[in-house]
C-alpha cells in the first residue's frame, strides 16, 4: 500500500502530478484511487491531492499519520501537512515560498526556519530548489515534475515505468520539457 499526498497552492500543477502517479501505479497493476481538488480552492488556496495504491483501496483520502510520502510544492504547505506522514515517512518539498494572503496583509507572519520546524517530525526530508531546476529545464511550471523526479529515486519503480506514465499523461507538446525536468529532479535527489 502506498499513500501519497501532493500539497501546494492552487494552480501549481498538483492535478497533473497526481495523474502521473495514478498512471504509474495503475500500470504496475495496483488498485488506485486519486482524489483531486477543483473549484474555489484552486484560486490560490491550500490544496491537497491524495494518491493511494494497493491491493484494494476503499477510501480515496488519507488520514493524518497514514501517508508514506508527501510531495510539497511550497514550504509552508509542506509544514502544514507534515503531520499526515507516518513515522519514518518521506517529505520531498520545494523550497519555494508563496506567502498566503493573511501574511501579505500583515495580519500573520510566514513561519521562519521551516526546515528547522520540520525537525520536530520523525520523518525523512529532502528540500529541493524545484523552481530553479524547473526554470533551467525550460519552464518554472515544471517544478511539479522536478519533485516527481526527486521522488522517483527511492520509489522502487523502474525509470522506464515513470517515463511511460509521463508519456501517457503529459500533453505531447510539453513532454520533452517534462522529461528534462523529471531527469533533473532525479539527479538532484541522487546527489
Amino acid at each position: 500500500m502506498y499513500n501519497i499526498m501532493i500539497v501546494g497552492v492552487g494552480g501549481q500543477g498538483s492535478l497533473l502530478a497526481s495523474r502521473i502517479l495514478g498512471a504509474l501505479y495503475t500500470n504496475r497493476g495496483f488498485d488506485v484511487k486519486v482524489s483531486e481538488v477543483h473549484g474555489m480552492s484552486q484560486r490560490g488556496g491550500s490544496v491537497v491531492t491524495y494518491v493511494r495504491a494497493g491491493e484494494n483501496i476503499a477510501s480515496p483520502i488519507i488520514a493524518p499519520g497514514d501517508a508514506d510520502l508527501i510531495l510539497g510544492f511550497e514550504q509552508l504547505e509542506a509544514l502544514r501537512w507534515a503531520h499526515y506522514l507516518k513515522p519514518g515517512g518521506s517529505l520531498i518539498y520545494s523550497t519555494q515560498e508563496i506567502k498566503p494572503m493573511p501574511v501579505l496583509t500583515g495580519a500573520m507572519e510566514y513561519p521562519a526556519d521551516i526546515p528547522v520546524k520540520l525537525e520536530e517530525y520523525n520523518i525523512k526530508k529532502l528540500a529541493v530548489d524545484a523552481l530553479t531546476i524547473a526554470t533551467r529545464a525550460g519552464s518554472p511550471k515544471a517544478a511539479n515534475v522536478v519533485l516527481l523526479g526527486a521522488a522517483s529515486v527511492h520509489s522502487g519503480t523502474d525509470i522506464s515505468d515513470w517515463e511511460t506514465a509521463l508519456r501517457e499523461t503529459v500533453p505531447p507538446k510539453f513532454l520533452e520539457l517534462n522529461l528534462r525536468a523529471f531527469k533533473a529532479g532525479r539527479e538532484c535527489a541522487a546527489d
Partner: protein
C-alpha cells in the same frame, strides 16, 4: 475490455455514452461540472450549457418526453433552482429515460451551503441512486436509464465531491444504440392541471409501492457479512470510509439505491448483527426512516451533521482510538484569493474605497469579500444580489441607495439576475447593479455561456448583448467601464449612485486566466523610490508583498496588469 482510470464525473459521462443517452443539458457547478464537459466530447451525444439548472432540467425532461434518453447534471444548490420541474415531472413521467445527477459538497469545498440533496428524492418521490466509486458511477448511470424507463419516472443520481473528484479504474464497454422512442400525445399524462394531476398523483403513489418492493430485491444494494459484532449501513463515500476504517471487523449493508430504502432487508440484516450503525454524512435521513420502522440504529448521536467524515472519524467513534498522528503545526491559513491580474480586483478596490454596501453574488468575485479588499456585505445564492439590493434599498431611507450596489458576474446575471433587474425597473427602485463581465463562467473552470459567443461544443453561437438585454429590461442608464481603469470606474460608480434611478454598470474585461488574454511582462518595484506606504497592498494581489518597508513583486506570479502601479504615489512600479 479496456480499463481506464477515470474521475467519477468522467465515468458518469462514459455511462451516458454507453447507455445511448442522446441529450445533455446542464449549468456548471462544482463538483458536477466535468460530467457535462466530458459528455460533450462524444459526437453521439448532443450536449449544451443552459443558462441555469431549471432551463437545463426542463430541456432534458422535454427531450425525454420527446423520446430521447436525456440527462442533466448540477451541484446541490442547482437542484433548488431546478426543483420546480422535477417535482411535477415525477407526476408526468417520461417517454425515454431521464436521469438527473446532483453532486453534494460535504465540507463545502466550493459552495455556499452543505444541504443534503437526498431530501429531494423523498420530497419529489423519485428513485435515487448513489455510487461509491468511478466503476459504480458508470454502471449506476446506465442502470438509472433502465429504471427510469421501467418505472416511468425521472431518476436522481446522487454524487458528492469525493466521488465526483476521485479517480479509480473503470472498464469501458461499447455504446448501446437506443433508438428515439415514438412520442404520443397524451394529455392525461403530460398536461398537469388539477383534473389530470389528481389522477397522476395516484399513479405516483402506486409507483412508490412498486419501488419499495424493487428496493428489497435489487442488486444495487449489497450485503457483506464479516464479523457480526458491528453492522454498518452506509452509501457512497461514507461506505468507503467505513470499509477503510473497519475492514472485515464489521458487516456492511451498502446502499446503492438510497431512495426508497429496503426496510425489510435492513430489518433482517439488523437481526444478524450485535450493534447497528448508520453512517451518513450530513442529515439523518436513513437513521430517521429506519427508526420510524422500529429498527434500532445508532447514528447522529455519534456522528456530526456538519462537514465531511473520514476513516478516522469512524475509527474514533466506533472502534475507539487507534488514531495515531503527530501534532499539526499551527500554520497561517491560505484561503483562496482573486488571481493576479483578475479584472474584478479594480472594481472591488473602488467599492471598498467608496465604503459602499455591496450585495454580492456567487462566483470567483465572492473572494472580493476577503481582506484586504473587504468589498462585500452579503452573498446568498445565484442572482440574489440584484433582487436583494432592491429589497434593501426599498426598505431603507432613500439616502441608503446612494451608497449601495449589487455586483454579479456575467454568467450569474444570465442564470438568474435578469428577472431581478426587471423587478428593479418595474418597481422603480433607485438601485445600481454592476455586472462583472469577464467573458466566461470563471469559478467552475472556464465554461462558455450565452454571452461568450461559443457553445459547449465550441461552435459559434449568437452572443447575448448585455447592454441590449438591460435596455430591453427597461434600464435607461447603462454604463460600461474597464475595471483596470480605476479613475473611470470610480467616476462612473459615483455618478450612477448620485442619480436615484435604476442603473447598470458593466465592468468589462476578460478573465486573466483565459488563454486568449495576453500576459504582460512582470512588473518590478524601484526599491530606491519605494517609501513602503503600502498603497499597492490595498488591492490584495498575491504577487505583491511588503518586507522591510519595501514592496516586492513576485515575478513568477505577476501578469503585468499595472493596477498596483496606478495606486503608487511615488510612481515606482513599472
Amino acid at each position: 475490455m479496456e480499463k481506464k482510470m477515470l474521475l467519477g464525473n468522467v465515468a458518469v459521462a462514459r455511462g451516458l455514452y454507453e447507455a445511448g443517452c442522446r441529450f445533455v443539458s446542464s449549468y456548471p457547478g462544482t463538483p458536477s461540472t466535468e460530467i457535462t464537459e466530458h459528455a460533450a466530447k462524444y459526437d453521439e451525444i448532443y450536449a449544451e450549457w443552459a443558462p441555469n439548472e431549471k432551463v437545463a432540467v426542463e430541456s432534458s425532461i422535454g427531450a425525454a418526453i420527446g423520446g430521447a434518453r436525456s440527462f442533466s447534471a448540477m451541484k446541490h444548490v442547482g437542484l433548488n433552482v431546478a426543483a420546480d420541474p422535477i417535482f411535477t415531472a415525477s407526476y408526468t413521467g417520461i417517454t425515454a429515460g431521464c436521469v438527473i445527477a446532483v453532486a453534494d459538497d460535504m465540507g463545502m469545498h466550493s459552495s455556499q451551503n452543505e444541504q443534503d440533496s437526498r431530501h429531494y428524492a423523498r420530497a419529489a418521490k423519485l428513485m435515487m441512486l448513489e455510487p461509491a466509486d468511478s466503476r459504480e458511477c458508470k454502471e449506476f448511470t446506465k442502470l438509472a436509464f433502465e429504471l427510469s424507463e421501467k418505472y416511468d419516472t425521472p431518476v436522481l443520481l446522487r454524487l458528492s465531491t469525493r466521488i465526483s473528484h476521485s479517480q479509480s479504474v473503470v472498464s469501458l464497454d461499447s455504446r448501446v444504440d437506443v433508438p428515439l422512442k415514438e412520442y404520443k400525445k397524451d394529455i392525461s399524462k403530460y398536461v398537469m392541471m388539477p383534473g389530470m394531476a389528481k389522477k397522476r398523483h395516484v399513479v405516483v403513489e402506486e409507483r412508490e409501492k412498486k419501488l419499495r418492493e424493487f428496493a428489497e430485491t435489487c442488486d444495487l444494494n449489497k450485503i457483506e457479512m464479516n464479523d457480526t459484532k458491528i453492522g454498518i449501513i452506509a452509501s457512497g463515500i461514507a461506505y468507503q470510509y467505513a470499509r477503510e476504517a473497519l475492514g472485515d471487523k464489521a458487516s456492511y449493508f451498502k446502499l446503492g439505491l438510497i431512495y426508497p430504502l429496503p426496510v425489510e432487508s435492513i430489518k433482517k440484516f439488523a437481526a444478524q448483527v450485535d450493534k447497528l450503525y448508520v453512517i451518513e454524512e450530513l442529515d439523518d435521513i436513513f437513521e430517521t426512516h429506519l427508526k420510524k420502522h422500529g429498527i434500532k440504529v445508532t447514528g447522529k448521536e455519534l456522528f456530526s451533521k456538519i462537514g465531511e467524515y473520514s476513516p478516522n472519524t469512524i475509527r474514533e467513534k466506533i472502534s475507539g482510538g487507534d488514531v495515531h498522528a503527530a501534532t499539526a503545526f499551527d500554520a497561517p491559513p491560505r484561503p483562496p484569493a482573486l488571481c493576479p491580474g483578475c479584472p474584478h480586483r479594480g472594481i472591488f478596490y473602488v467599492l471598498s474605497k467608496l465604503r459602499l454596501t455591496v450585495y454580492g453574488d456567487i462566483g470567483c468575485y465572492t473572494l472580493g469579500a476577503l481582506s484586504p479588499l473587504n468589498a462585500m456585505d452579503i452573498t446568498l445564492c445565484m442572482g440574489a444580489s440584484v433582487s436583494g439590493i432592491h429589497g434593501m434599498n426599498m426598505a431603507r431611507e432613500p439616502e441608503f441607495a446612494k451608497h449601495s450596489v449589487a455586483v454579479i458576474g456575467d454568467s450569474t446575471f444570465i442564470h438568474s439576475g435578469i428577472t431581478g433587474l426587471i423587478n428593479i425597473v418595474y418597481n422603480q427602485s433607485p438601485s445600481t447593479v454592476i455586472i462583472l463581465d469577464n467573458s466566461i463562467t470563471g469559478m467552475t473552470g472556464h465554461q462558455q455561456n450565452p454571452a461568450t459567443g461559443l457553445t459547449l461544443k465550441n461552435r459559434p453561437a449568437p452572443m447575448l448583448d448585455l447592454e441590449a438585454m438591460c435596455r430591453a429590461c427597461g434600464v435607461a442608464r447603462i454604463r460600461v467601464c474597464d475595471p483596470y481603469d480605476l479613475k473611470e470606474c470610480e467616476s462612473i460608480v459615483k455618478e450612477e449612485l448620485s442619480i436615484p434611478e435604476p442603473s447598470v454598470i458593466i465592468a468589462r474585461r476578460p478573465c486573466a486566466l483565459l488563454k486568449s488574454v495576453k500576459r504582460g511582462e512582470p512588473l518590478a518595484v524601484d526599491e530606491e523610490k519605494c517609501i513602503g506606504c503600502g498603497m499597492c497592498m490595498k488591492i490584495g494581489c498575491p504577487a505583491i508583498s511588503l518586507t522591510d518597508k519595501k514592496a516586492h513583486i513576485d515575478s513568477a506570479l505577476c501578469v503585468g496588469c499595472e493596477l498596483c502601479g496606478k495606486l503608487c504615489p511615488k510612481n515606482c512600479i513599472g
